[in-house]
Amino acid sequence: MSDPTPTTQRSGVSVRFRAVTKEYGAQRALNGLDLDIQPGEFVALLGPSGCGKTTALRSLAGLETVTSGELLIDGEDVTRVPVNRRDLGMVFQSYSLFPNLNVIENVEFGLRTRKVPAAERTARAQEMLDRVGLGDFAERFAHQLSGGQQQRVALARALVTRPRVLLLDEPLSALDAKVRTQLRDEIRRIQLDLGITTVFVTHDQEEALAVADRIAVMNSGKIDQIGTPEELYRRPETGFVANFIGQSTLLTALVHEGRIALLGREIDLTDPLPEGALARVRVRPENLALESFEHGEGEPGAVVTTSFLGSLRRTTVHLDSGLSIVVQHSAEDTPEVESRVRVRLLQDVVTAHVD
């Protein structure tokens, strides 16, 4: 692992979206998007396809012209600044290396457009290639590299100019699982080394949870909720966020004396709800336990499927009440399909919403 070097270190700058709207004909891709990103922060824009996350990133890059609103980088309004003068680094989903240039020429590209002298150019490109672990690949061409290597070169090319902000447009989506995790962690390491403000677009919640300082969950061209991975996971503010981040089952129960009955237990609420209201609660697999039908507690049901996930196991139980629920438990327990079991809630307090 390389240490941060003063030559490339640069304190990050702030990024701000102010009521940004982008329309494609009658369709609204961004719907008054507001987002403040702190200097040096790594923010993931997360959401399903069509939620506007890529449009938001491309608007910040200048690859899309926004319909209204303002984009500020380091306090400067860049809304009308052309893409090649915004001083940003970008990595694309599709490997976008120039095929006719070798690895080092690709990395030097942005330095050439900035008229950096040849000797300094090569030195900086080589240093950045070393940083992404491809120091020995300078003479190769794109078609001689694997997908993961190509994205590393693309990352080096985007960073070598010491841009104000790093934009990552689903850079890991085309890679296979193992390379994806590796490169994901490496991107985070380099980002922390350089202290560069980074915006990362992804549809993969696991990716976002793993690397981001904060995650902005987008839905219909706006941010539904923004917060740290822990906040989003533990206290989702909307059903959309709860549904999108992690796996969960929606349960409903009537509020009685400030409590609700869930899976055969009386549970407290974090926030009070009116008496008689129908509370909706999202329960995650890890907050449930599988118990023996004869001796255990909880609501009875029958095992539908069970899948082995290494250190743990996830089992879907069809409760007698008619609901199917996913339970996470130790891989040591191997419930048989169709066997009778009980599902118990491990939490004493839950966050409920009334829709």
Partner: protein, 306 residues
């Protein structure tokens, strides 16, 4: 590895070898389907080429002679080659440039758009629309009594032919040739141009490059082999074109294919027999030189091409 595992690995080459043996026999049977085509090429392309080439070195009585080949430097023959070269280079260059511009314009439409599909369909028809039909189309439109010629004269008082009737002379070949050259370029160049990834232009822009930076450093180098290939195809197409010129050119044999006809039907051109073979040899030499140039370019780009 377990003993059974290593046994399995050892067996593999023999199995695949057996499958390979079977495969070559299996491949041979469908390969037989190529025989009629191979025979056709042999009888009507290879043998005539060899005959054409060798006859150039023999006189009528079958004795070896340099006379025919020496006639290639005859001023008349040289000027014919000169004519063929300039008309082919000019129409190939214009065809390639205009065709490439059309492709670039089409690029802004989606591949499934009606306009792009129509232009591509029309191009594939027009690229093959040469010969007497094309000559007639031009004669009927801009010939001396052509529809457009008469219309321009009667309505606008504009004389298409104030002096010489250029349509029936060498310059008259340019327009009809372009008529099939441009569509041929559109057909051959469009796939290459469509292969330019939008992410390349976007990467260029985010790296601070202008549109010119992109074309100079990426677009043109990436497209150069396809453009040169298209140009070469257009050159060969025009260099060997015969029927259009035969139907249009009224007097003399200004281009090599016409000269070959003259040499074939009149045995006394320049007092030499078998000149046609020598002329064909000259054409082949020119094509070989161009192909060598093309493969040199290919070799330069091969290092970054898959």
């Amino acid at each position: 590895m377990t003993p059974s595992g290593s046994a399995r690995t050892r067996r593999l080459p023999r199995n695949s070898g057996g499958a390979g043996g079977l495969g070559s026999a299996q491949r041979l049977i469908p390969g037989l389907g190529l025989v009629p085509f191979a025979l056709y090429v042999l009888i009507f392309l290879l043998i005539p080429t060899v005959l054409a080439l060798t006859t150039g070195f023999f006189n009528r009585s079958g004795a070896f002679t340099w006379d025919n080949v020496a006639a290639l430097v005859d001023p008349t023959v040289l000027s014919t080659f000169g004519n063929s070269l300039w008309i082919s280079l000019l129409t190939a260059a214009l065809g390639a440039l205009i065709g490439a511009v059309i492709c670039y314009a089409l690029l802004s439409f989606s591949p499934t758009s009606r306009l792009r599909a129509s232009v591509e369909a029309i191009s594939s028809v027009l690229a093959q629309f040469g010969g007497v039909m094309l000559a007639f189309a031009f004669i009927a439109t801009i010939g001396v009594q052509g529809l457009l010629t008469v219309l321009l004269k009667d309505v606008f008082g504009f004389a298409l032919y104030p002096g010489e009737i250029w349509l029936y002379q060498m310059p008259g070949l340019i327009l009809p040739y372009l008529y099939f050259q441009i569509p041929l370029m559109v057909l051959t160049f469009m796939p290459a141009l469509s292969g330019l990834k939008p992410a390349w232009t976007e990467a260029n822009a985010t790296l601070g490059g202008t549109s010119w930076t992109f074309w100079r450093r990426v677009g043109i180098p990436v497209l150069a082999p396809a453009f040169a290939g298209g140009f070469l195809l257009l050159f060969a197409n025009s260099f060997s074109a015969y029927a259009t010129a035969a139907a249009l050119i009224s007097q003399g044999s200004q281009i090599v294919p016409l000269q070959i006809r003259t040499a074939l039907i009149s045995e006394t051109v320049l007092g030499r027999e078998n000149l046609a073979g020598a002329l064909a040899l000259g054409m082949i030499v020119i094509m070989i030189v161009l192909m060598l140039g093309y493969s040199a370019l290919q070799a330069r780009t091969a290092r970054w091409q898959k």
